[in-house]
Every structure is written in C-alpha cells, then in structure tokens.
Assembly symmetry: C2
C-alpha cells in the first residue's frame, strides 16, 4: 500500500498529547489521519484530517471508526480490544495487535506473560478480589510489605498502593488485583524497542528515570542512563527479550528496575510512544513518534542513537493550584541553553496533572542535567 497518497487513511484511537506529537510526523510524511477521542477538546482535534467523537471503550464506536480506516493504531492502551479483534478478522491492520493489548491491559495477565516467557520480574500473587488478600496474609500465604496493583487500568499514581500494614488495604477498590513484592532498587530504567511488520528491530539507548526523593514521581528522564556498561547491556537484552516475546508491531517501552544487586526486573510495558522517550524529539536521530510511524507502516526503521545528551523534565501542575493554567517563568527557562518546552494544551491545571514536558539537550549530559534542575526550580504550573 502507498501510504504517501491521499487514498490511505491512518486511524488513531485517542486524541491526547501522545497523539498530538505523533500527528506532527504524519503531517511531515503527508499521511491522511483520522482520530477518535471522547473529548471535543482533545489536543489532536485540530491536527488531524478528520476527528470523530467517541468512547474508546465502546465496542460499536471503536468498530465503526476502525471500519473507515486502513490501519489503526493507539496512543493509549485503554481501548475496546474486542472491537479491535473483530476489525483484524475483517482485514483492518491493527498495530499494536489486539493480542498484545489484551495482555498489557491486565496487569495480572502481563505478569503471568513474563513468567511464561522466562522474563525476570518481581514475584507476585494474583487475586480475583482485593478482599481475598487479607485472608492470604492471615494464613501466611503472603507477607507484608507488598505493592497492591489493580489488574485493570492501573497506571502510575492510580491503582497502585504500597501496603505495609493490613490497615493500608482499607479503602482500596474490591477488584481483580496483584500483590507484588516490594523491590528495593537503585534505578528505574527504560528501553524503547521499535519493531516493524517485517520484523526489523531497533532499540533506543537505556534511559534512567530519576525520582523525586519524597514525592515518588518521575522528575527527570536522562538519556543515556548514567549506569555501568554491563548493566546497560543487561537492560537492553531484557528489553529485546520482552519485545521478542510480544512479537509486537510499533514501539514497546519497557520499564525496568535495576535492583541493589544489579539484577534487571521488568516492571511494565507500553506498546506506544512513551514518556520515557520524549527526549528523542530533540536528542535522537529519529524521534520515537517518527519511529512508531515507520514501524506500523512497515517502513525502514530510523537510527536510534543520540545526536547529543538529552534530559526530560515533566511539567506537572503545582499542588496548590486548580483552575485556568498559567506557565510562570516560561521565558526564564527559554533563556537557558538547549531548552524546549512542550505545552500539551490542557486548559485547566490541578495538583500533579501532566501539563507538558521540557527537553534539555547538550553535548555534555551532566550539563544538561544541571540545566534541567534549573528548569525544574524556575518554572511553575499555576492558575490565575
């Protein structure tokens, strides 16, 4: 199929900031796009050729949308997978495939998949309901502390809780869940692997996700990670093994722990452009967004090495403000060397809401890291 022609139509499920950054690249290649999202204020709305309002979890909405395109991709995992399966049967190309999404959408299934495929991951127990956990602890089948994770629709900061005492279970939803052993780690690492339909594979350098010591939120993504070569090699090998096991098409972002004794344990994956790859826009030969497109369109994959060192800082809403957003001191950070703000276009801020990110590139990674700290100290996402 000739993608570079107006007869081809690429469908994207989800109209958020990841889709928006993907759309810059569809425009660069002049690819005809259609986006579906539940919000009429979705950032993608003005950058696609065609916008459809629809619930991504609704079978009919996804199915009907998919029938009107040649190839379907996602910018968020939480979509109706049954509809995708039906579309695949009818010859619509869906990347990532429904089988990949099915495993990833459910954290219990995802963990079992790692075990089945001999991929190192923290040990865990699976429960049909949170209420069953108490019993398991009482009978000695599970020991404290552990990490409680809801199986469905869990993502960073939601659906996850560290349980140190039985009382910590109070108030958690009574849903399918896992109890995962609490890993004592030195670093959180990530590797983005790209795979096209022909099976060509390329991986980006290992990045380091530096956490705020108190807030337990990713503060900086640093590319490349400041770790030993041996650890980097091991992390890359594990990421490639995960990619091979999924046999996915498109990007797969593999998040991992580097334990105190330098083991690599897979935490979770995302089958799409990912927060840990935003610095690729400025720092890499090929941005993760262009690479995702190259992969799902079965084009040759681009170079994944870096032109310069890159650090990404997430722009989140200040914890004391809710309302119409104002980016205070944005001119101050734009004065700094190699700083590019990416504003996602959300009108309202609230505590810790992801409003954008800032990339800092420099030929010297340590200098980039220092400037990133200045950025973090200067800019404030507040309201009027």
């Amino acid at each position: 199929m000739n993608y570079f022609s107006s007869e081809f139509k690429l469908g994207i499920l989800g109209g958020g900031q990841l889709g928006k950054m993907l759309l810059y690249n569809t425009r660069k290649f002049d690819i005809n796009t259609s986006v579906m999202d539940a919000s009429n204020e979705a950032p993608c709305k003005i950058a696609c050729n065609e916008f459809t309002l629809g619930d991504l979890m609704d079978y009919d909405a996804v199915y009907n949308f998919g029938k009107r395109v040649d190839l379907l991709t996602i910018e968020i995992e939480n979509v109706n997978v049954d509809a995708l399966e039906a579309l695949e049967k009818e010859g619509i190309k869906v990347y990532p495939a429904s089988k990949t999404l099915k495993i990833i959408q459910n954290k219990a299934k995802q963990k079992l998949f790692y075990v089945d495929n001999d991929i190192p991951t923290a040990s865990f127990s699976r429960f049909a309901y949170t209420s069953e956990i108490k019993e398991a602890v009482n009978h000695g089948g599970l020991s404290l502390p552990f990490v409680w994770k809801s199986a469905q629709f869990g993502y960073d900061g939601q659906g996850v809780k560290i349980v140190r005492t039985i009382a910590d279970l109070d108030g958690l939803p009574n849903v399918e869940c896992i109890a995962e052993s609490l890993v004592s780690f030195k670093n959180e690492l990530a590797v983005i692997v790209a795979r096209n339909i022909s099976g060509d594979i390329k991986s980006y350098p290992v990045v380091e996700m530096e956490f705020h010591p108190e807030a337990n939120q990713v503060e900086y993504v640093i590319c490349p990670a400041r770790i030993d070569n041996d650890v980097a090699k091991k992390a890359k090998a594990v990421a490639l093994k995960v990619s091979e096991a999924f046999n996915h098409v498109g990007l797969l972002a593999v998040e991992m722990f580097q334990t105190k004794d330098d083991q690599i344990l897979v935490n979770e994956v995302a089958p799409r452009p990912h927060n840990s790859g935003h610095q690729t826009i400025e720092a890499s030969y090929t941005s993760q967004f262009e690479q995702h497109l190259r992969a799902i369109l079965n084009l040759p994959l681009g170079r994944t090495d870096s032109k310069v060192g890159g650090v990404m800082v997430n722009l989140v809403g200040d914890e004391s403000y809710t309302g119409n957003v104002v980016y205070k001191n944005i001119e101050t950070i734009m004065k700094m060397d190699g700083v590019t703000p990416h504003i996602y276009g959300k009108k309202q801020t609230r505590p810790f809401r992801k409003m954008g990110h800032v990339t800092i590139v420099n030929e010297d990674l340590n200098q980039a890291r220092r400037i990133a700290e200045e950025v973090k100290k200067s800019i404030k996402v507040i309201s009027k």
Copy 2:
C-alpha cells in the same frame, strides 16, 4: 502579553509549506493560530485553530483578517503591505513590519537599500520599463551580458533572465525592472539572522547552496558551508550588517555570492523561514521555525549552533511528469542513515514544482553529503 494562553491569537498570512512547518511549533507551545490563504487546499488548513479563505494581495481581506488577531506574521512576502501599515497604526503588531516588507517586495528598492546602507551588492541599473533597457544598451549606458530582474514579485526561476544579446529581451514583460551585472561566483552562501523585539540577535552558521551544474537549480544546502573560516566570518559579518540595516523582527535569510576573489555580495533577502534553513529542523539546537516564533513573540532566542552536520535536498517534480504525485523509492531513501523526508502535501506534481525536501544528518558532514547524493539519485517525484 501571555502568549501561552488561549486569549492570544497569532495570525499567519499564507498557508503553504513554510506555514505548515511553523505551525508544528505553535502547537508545541500551544499558541492559538489563525491562517489566511487563497486556497482551500492550503497545507496549513488542518494544522491551525482557524482558517480564513482570502486573497493575500487584497487590502480588505488582509485588513479584516489582521483586525481579528493580536500579532500578524507572514510565510510569504507577497501580501498587501498597505493593509499591514493600516493595521500597525491601529496597534496590531506586525512582524516583519510593513516597512521591511515594502523594501523587500520591490527588487529595485531592495538594491537601493543596500547601496544606501553601504552593503556590498552587484552593481545594477533601475528601469521603469523593460523597453527602456534597449535604449540604454544602444547608448552605451549598459553593457551586455546582464541579469534582468522584474522589480515586483520576482523569485527564483521566475522574473529573472540572463540577457546575453539584445534579442534575449524579446518576450520579457514590459515592467519595472533592474539590470544587474552578471557576478562570476564560486559559491552561493546564506546566513539566517534572528532578531527579537528586544533587539537580541543570533545568527545561524553560514550554509552553502550547491547548484546543479546544468539545471541552474539549488540541489543541496550544506550546513556548515565548506569554505575558509575567513570567508565564513566575512559572510556572517555582512549578514549581520544587513540585519542591522533592516532592523527587522523575526528571521532574515540573507543570500550572498562568494565571488571568484572571495568578495561577499548580497543577492537578496527573505524576512521569514527560508529554504536555506530547513536542515535546522534536524541539525540545529533550535529549528528556524521555532526561532521565528521566539523572535516575533519576543521570547529569548534559542541556540543556533548545530548538533550534527546537515544537508538538505529539495524534492522537485520530475521534468517528464504532470499529474497526481507519487514518491517513487521513498522507502529506499528512508533506509539510509539519518534521512528524513518532508512531504509538503501538494496533490499534483509538475516539472520542477517544489514538492518537499529531504534532510540528511550525520556526525560527519562529508558522509551526509555522500548520502544526500544517493538520496538525489534514488527518489523520483513522478505521477501515476
């Protein structure tokens, strides 16, 4: 004024490929945009917040459009300057200013401006009508050969003719024009200078425009130019002098000749993102499009040095084809190292029509130049 707020509206006159690349960056900064163009198929149409159909040379169309925005910029020089002047008087910010555009729109005025400001340029004579040239030659006031240029609306390949004999004048339109002495040059060079409202100035490295030996068309833009340091310094100094003379806001692309005896002569300027700066998207710390925005919004200017070597190849329609465009062998070029195609989205190709460009980046500029030659040999812009 807070640009990063939905109350601000940036107006762009012209909806072509330059505007389209500018719009990626307005999206990155979440800046509200309104575009006017005469064509309903303008590439910008789907990437702006609001699109207005209108003739850029029509006073009322430009005036009415300008009244609805806070700041007006252009992506093409040929706009109604009287309307811009009226808007400025009513407090609308216009960058580049009407006075800058007035000089640049008319090649005779532009040349006189260089003379008045002691800027080196090829000698010339000005004529109210082409018909007056014959007389000047007959009376010995002008000697052959020379370059005939129409004063108004001339651009590369149109409105320009090398006149070697009096017969070459036949068929030229009888309009205001200049006769410029034919410069014997080693290289065509260009420097893009950025200037913001506060008067901060930054210039990009000198680039080299390599011409096809027979077709007399720019084939490659090479950044940085492969010239002596002294020549590069001289070219940069001349470009900064031109920028100072214009006292412009936004980008100013200064095209120059390096003569056989290493003099620098200014050929012409463009007060906007320019073909000689497309490689900045992939090769520079700050792309020319982001820089233009930073300048007109009076934000701090970004770094203008390069991360890696960059070469740009123009994608023009094959001379034997007219019709619905097909990009033959695009997958072949995407297999090559550091190659990014930019397809402008024009549906129809015709001989020599500018359909897109390809950037090649590499840590080794000579390697980038070699790959660029492979790109040029491989890709064909044809029709079905």
